[in-house]
């Protein structure tokens, strides 16, 4: 491995964890990070859509 490659590898090894740590800290300090996870919102949406389908099928079974 050449000296240049080694320097770049060392830089990446230092900067990437530093970047991830900084990003994680910013996200934790940001009020928007307190919002519910997207998957939770989609689960609620899915549940509502499924409720509509189930109720409609139930009604169709009765008509």
């Amino acid at each position: 491995m050449s000296d240049k490659t080694l320097v770049v590898a060392q830089l990446l090894g230092t900067l990437i964890p530093l970047g991830v740590k900084t990003y994680t800290e910013i996200r934790a300090a940001n009020p928007s990070s307190n919002l519910p996870p997207i998957e939770d919102i989609l689960k609620q949406a899915d549940q509502n859509w499924q409720d509509v389908i189930d109720a409609a099928k139930k009604e169709l079974g009765q008509t």
């Binding site: 900067l15 970047g19 990003y23 989609l42 949406a45 859509w49 389908i53 109720a55 009604e59 008509t63």
Partner: protein, 144 residues
């Protein structure tokens, strides 16, 4: 030399992080639109069922409404699935535009199949509300 490399890597990392943030914001907004829309349609359905049970809606119209609502629910589930697998804004927009096209087809069906004007109008307003929320979001994303 090393300073320039540190600077370049810093820029690359910043771009990666900045690119990641808007995507999550867009998907979140679309997920909220889907959740709010599903709640609105569910409410419309409950009201329609009450009206039918009270004898205010004919059997034929009730059947047509519920058949169309099955399709509306399936469009919603498909949109949610699309949002889950979207890797970027463009893919999220594809799912959104697909849902809008499907809702346009259903709008025609509502106009043709439902006879009672009051039921038809209420259903069209409910669907138009969902379509409007989706198309506004699509416009903000650079779509329709």
């Amino acid at each position: 030399m090393i300073k320039r490399r540190i600077g370049a890597l810093g820029i690359i990392l910043a771009v990666i992080f900045l690119a990641a943030c808007p995507k999550q914001d867009v998907i979140r907004k679309l997920a909220v639109v889907s959740k709010e829309s599903s709640a609105a349609i569910k409410l419309f359905q409950q009201n329609e069922i009450q009206s039918y049970n009270a004898g205010l809606v004919s059997k034929e119209d009730h059947k047509a409404v519920q058949e169309i609502l099955v399709s509306v629910g399936e469009i919603g589930l498909a949109l949610d699935m699309h949002l889950r697998i979207a890797a970027n804004d463009a893919q999220a927009l594809d799912g959104l535009n697909l849902a809008i096209k499907d809702l346009d087809v259903l709008t025609v069906e509502i106009s043709e199949k439902i006879k009672d004007e009051s039921t038809k109008t209420k259903f069209l307003i409910a669907i138009a509300g969902v379509r409007s929320a989706l198309s506004t979001t699509a416009a903000l994303l650079g779509g329709q």
